[in-house]
């Protein structure tokens, strides 16, 4: 039962698919943000897995995972600031109601 890179990429694809489904079907902005976190995690798992199987003596893939986590933190902070602004603006966080910039 040896685990190859293939297994990790398939797992990452499945998590990506689940996150994508959440982004497409959720109406609550916070739930969309949580689904985005799942997608970023799928990408970060991929980086670490490629590091482990292709260049185990270097740590470049792990560094990319850390950068992905840092960018995810930035995305979450800005996203939640926008959600709070949206709530003040329209009294809710329903994304189907957020049409302020449409004309």
């Amino acid at each position: 039962m040896s685990i190859g890179l293939y297994h990790w990429i398939v797992l990452s694809f499945i998590i990506l698919g689940i996150g994508l489904y959440g982004v497409l079907t959720r109406r609550n902005a916070l739930l969309v943000l949580m689904s985005l976190e799942l997608i970023i995690n799928a990408a970060a798992i991929n980086f670490a897995a490629f590091n482990y199987y292709l260049t185990p003596e270097l740590v470049k893939g792990q560094i990319f995972s850390i950068f992905a986590i840092a960018v995810a933190a930035a995305e979450a902070a800005i996203g939640i600031a926008i959600v709070i602004r949206l709530y003040r603006l329209q009294g809710g966080v329903d994304l189907t109601q957020a049409a302020e910039l449409k004309w």
Binding site: S2, H7, W8, I14, L24, T25, N28, L58
Partner: protein, 172 residues
């Protein structure tokens, strides 16, 4: 052997809880399932000999991102009320899109499998990766990451200011 069992266990639990994140009706429950999913991802990092990334995952994701998400949940939504679902048509369409993306991706993977070196390589444990990561992040050599490291610190400063400006109330 034990790695295989751990991988399949963590992967199955991760897929289950990730699905619960996108399918549950209550926002706070989704956040709780997200915490469990992120801890399982940290376990997967340990399987990949990336203990330092696992520690960062728990510190930054569970200790930071999910906590501010939960604060935001308490600020902007009624916790007891179930989230309104989209129509069945949107759900089915999204399911088809997701299925297509995953199937096409895995299909592409099958065609390249075997052409990538080390696809099934078994690697022995290396436990000094925190030292290696620290050296690589601050190294000015050609394989160092000092410039992206500084750019990320600038990004975080910009995010800090941007988040405050975006979320504050106007002083009328």
């Amino acid at each position: 052997m034990i790695e295989g069992i751990c991988f399949y266990l963590f992967a199955a639990l991760l897929i289950f809880f990730a699905y619960k994140v996108v399918s549950t009706d209550y926002v706070l429950r989704a956040a709780t399932y997200l915490i469990i999913s992120l801890l399982l991802v940290a376990g997967l990092y340990i399987l990949l000999n990336a203990e330092f990334v696992a520690a960062i995952q728990i510190l930054v994701y569970v200790g930071g991102i999910v906590v501010i998400t939960i604060f935001a949940i308490f600020l902007v939504s009624r916790v007891g009320a179930p989230a309104v679902a989209l129509s069945m048509k949107t759900k089915i369409l999204s399911g088809v899109v997701v299925f297509a993306v995953v199937v096409v991706g895995i299909q592409a993977l099958v065609t390249i499998e075997g052409n990538v070196p080390g696809m099934t390589l078994d690697v022995d444990a290396r436990s000094d990766n925190a030292r290696k990561i620290g050296e690589a992040l601050l190294s000015v050599e050609s394989n160092g990451f000092i410039l992206p490291f500084e750019i990320v610190s600038l990004l975080l400063l910009g995010v800090l200011i941007g988040a405050v400006i975006t979320a504050r109330t106007k002083p009328e």
